[in-house]
């Protein structure tokens, strides 16, 4: 079994790039047979077509297909917006929408950005900056599944008379002499508890990108402000923050996309129970557990509509960059 797998792997790894190279080289020789004027018109398509076929087949076609499916019932009959009506009347979906837009989109995005900016600016002033950034960035490398497991342990609960095994409850009981908290079951605290996990995972991402942008601010500029007698806080508010704003916006859009698509952390830590459901998990359940492709398609289409503002923003950004070029 292992030998067969190894051979398959080696075969794919060698064969696919070779086949693509043969395709490119072979067709290049064919193109050279064409009249000189036609060559530059044909050649680019040889290079882009394989990639475009993949993108069309695995992204564009299924996305349009999903919108179509959201308008059909299980037998494939057109039912208009009936699936959307069902979905919006489902209290579970309403809770998922609340969680995605209130907790994830707002709380998570704002906290990651605030922590990211603060850490980038503060770490810039110490000598162990590289080590510090590595350690805080580390959660970005591991899977959200592992992240969820790590925090499930942090949040683990034992009755008040037993010794606490979870770090969070140990802190709550010893530092604050309070009752241990069921972090992942208590409806008042479970969503923030999940968000805290995601913040822990993503702060490093925001910090690293913002830190790179911060290094790009000319030292002279800050120097000049200091010579003029500006305090560090004023410099931060009046010089650093405005200069970081474009980067903060870009990081923010990435976070917003992640917030809308959040799935793994919820799936692993609560399974969407106790009012912690999110749209992506809802869609997964409708598709796999309830076998309701129409409703799953409706939820997926809602997600798709929710990213459109970000999409338009990104395209505008790209246009602005292109015009400066």
């Amino acid at each position: 079994m292992d030998v067969i797998q190894l051979l398959t792997l080696a075969g794919v790894v060698v064969l696919v790039p070779t086949a693509l190279a043969v395709y490119i080289i072979g067709l290049e020789y064919v193109v050279r047979l064409l009249p000189d004027a036609a060559q530059p018109r044909v050649r680019p398509w040889i290079w882009v077509t394989p990639a475009l076929v993949f993108v069309a087949l695995f992204l564009v076609y299924p996305t349009l297909g999903t919108i179509q499916i959201s308008l059909l019932d299980r037998a494939g009959n057109f039912v208009g917006l009936a699936n959307y009506a069902t979905v919006f009347n489902d209290s579970g979906v309403i809770i998922a929408i609340r969680n995605n837009f209130l907790y994830w989109l707002v709380l998570y995005t704002v906290f990651v950005l605030v922590f990211g900016v603060l850490l980038a600016v503060l770490a810039d002033r110490v000598r162990y900056e590289t080590l510090l950034k590595s350690l805080i960035f580390m959660p970005m490398a591991i899977s959200f599944v592992a992240l969820g497991v790590i925090w499930k342990f942090m949040y683990s609960y034992q009755p008040a008379d037993a010794p606490q095994t979870g770090t969070m409850n140990a802190l709550v009981t010893t530092l604050f002499h309070a009752q241990p908290v069921t972090w992942l079951q208590d409806r008042a605290i479970d969503n923030p508890a999940l968000i805290a996990t995601a913040i822990w995972g993503f702060t490093g991402f925001a910090m690293v990108i913002l830190s790179a942008a911060l290094k790009g601010i000319p030292g002279d500029l800050l120097e000049a402000a200091r010579v003029d007698g500006a305090g560090e806080l004023t410099i931060f508010r009046r010089v650093i923050l405005p200069l970081l704003m474009p980067t903060i916006t870009v990081v923010g859009t990435t976070l917003v996309i992640f917030a809308l698509k959040a799935f793994d952390i919820v799936y692993v830590m609560t399974g969407g129970n106790y009012d912690t459901d999110v749209l992506a998990n809802r869609m997964y359940l409708e598709l796999t557990k309830f076998n309701q492709p129409g409703r799953a398609g409706a939820v997926a289409t809602i997600l798709l509509l929710a990213v459109i503002p970000v999409l338009i923003f990104n395209l505008r950004q790209l246009r602005a960059v292109e015009s400066r070029r």
Partner: protein, 301 residues
């Protein structure tokens, strides 16, 4: 680093003139260090706690906190690791994760290199619009593709097999891969191409002899980024592989363990840690490239 210390030097130099200001500066510096070090500790503790727990037996894990294991008597065991490797399919999943992630990295990287070259150094009808469409596709939620693709794979008999997930990840990864490589290729000096053309070098020579060798750092960033992305993916694997243990990657197996083991989860610690080994090794040894990939993905846009 030097910039940072120079910036620090200014307030310190000024503060030397009067004692209270000097003291305030020192206290501020101390507060900064205390804050930063405690934040870093807070960031390391969760992972460290899981790591320590993974070497403790069930009884110890359920009756005392992981921090108690740091004081003597030291009672550590590798039973959890042995158990998950032998009984919970972790060994198979480990192989599966490689089986999924390596082709799902190499195929899109190759396709993207060809496409990005055409997008940056060739002129053709509709080029800018196509590139704009690719950037738009960067944000499309994968959820919006699952149902039709699942139908397609099922009709081809591919559901639950590796080729299905290789194909899916290739399609999903391509917009970002093309975007990242295009940004890099575009930054190459145009003199390079002009002089090569004057020397009579054809498209193939320019690509294979000039562009590719110069782009090794960008390609490395892309490969690392895509590899970790696929390695860490849960949702795509759940959808197209369907959770059968023979083909499940580590993420799916660990997520299933979370649900099946409930509270008795001493094995989960070891399983989670096994799933983190490869990303951590890649991250700490190739951090430079990984960070560059992430920067290319967001700052340049």
């Amino acid at each position: 680093m030097t910039v940072a210390s120079e910036r620090m030097a200014v307030p310190a130099g000024k503060a030397a003139q009067s004692t209270p200001q000097w003291l305030a500066g020192r206290l501020g510096g101390l507060a900064l260090h205390v804050a930063l070090i405690s934040i870093t500790v807070a960031w390391v503790v969760p992972t460290a706690g899981l790591f320590v727990s993974s070497f403790r037996d069930l009884n110890a894990i359920t009756t005392s906190g992981w921090w108690t294991a740091l004081a003597p008597p030291f009672k550590f065991t590798i039973d959890n690791y042995q158990h998950v490797l032998e009984r919970n399919n972790l060994g198979t999943s480990f192989v599966n994760s490689f089986m999924i992630a390596i082709p799902a990295t190499i195929i899109p990287a190759t396709l993207a290199a060809f496409a990005a070259y055409a997008f940056t150094w060739m002129k053709f009808w509709g080029r800018d619009w196509l590139f704009l469409a690719l950037v738009g596709l960067l944000v499309v939620p994968l959820q919006a593709t699952f149902i039709p693709l699942l139908k397609l794979f099922t009709s081809l008999g591919l559901t639950g097999t590796f080729p299905a997930i290789w194909l899916a990840h290739t399609g999903y990864g391509l917009p970002f891969a093309i975007y990242l490589l295009s940004n890099f290729f575009r930054a190459l000096p145009s003199d390079l191409f002009e002089s090569a053309e004057i020397d009579g070098a054809g498209t193939l020579t320019v690509f294979f002899r000039i562009v590719l060798p110069l782009s090794v750092p960008a390609i490395a960033s892309l490969v690392i980024f895509q590899f970790l992305w696929v390695w860490n993916d849960l949702l795509v694997a759940l959808i197209y592989l369907g959770g059968s243990p023979d083909v499940s990657p580590l993420t799916v197996t660990v997520a299933n363990l979370v649900n099946s083991l409930g509270q008795g989860y001493q094995w989960l610690t070891a399983a989670a840690f096994l799933s983190m080994i490869v990303p951590l090794v890649v991250f700490f040894s190739l951090q430079r490239y990984f960070v560059r990939g992430i920067l290319a993905g967001s700052v340049k846009g």
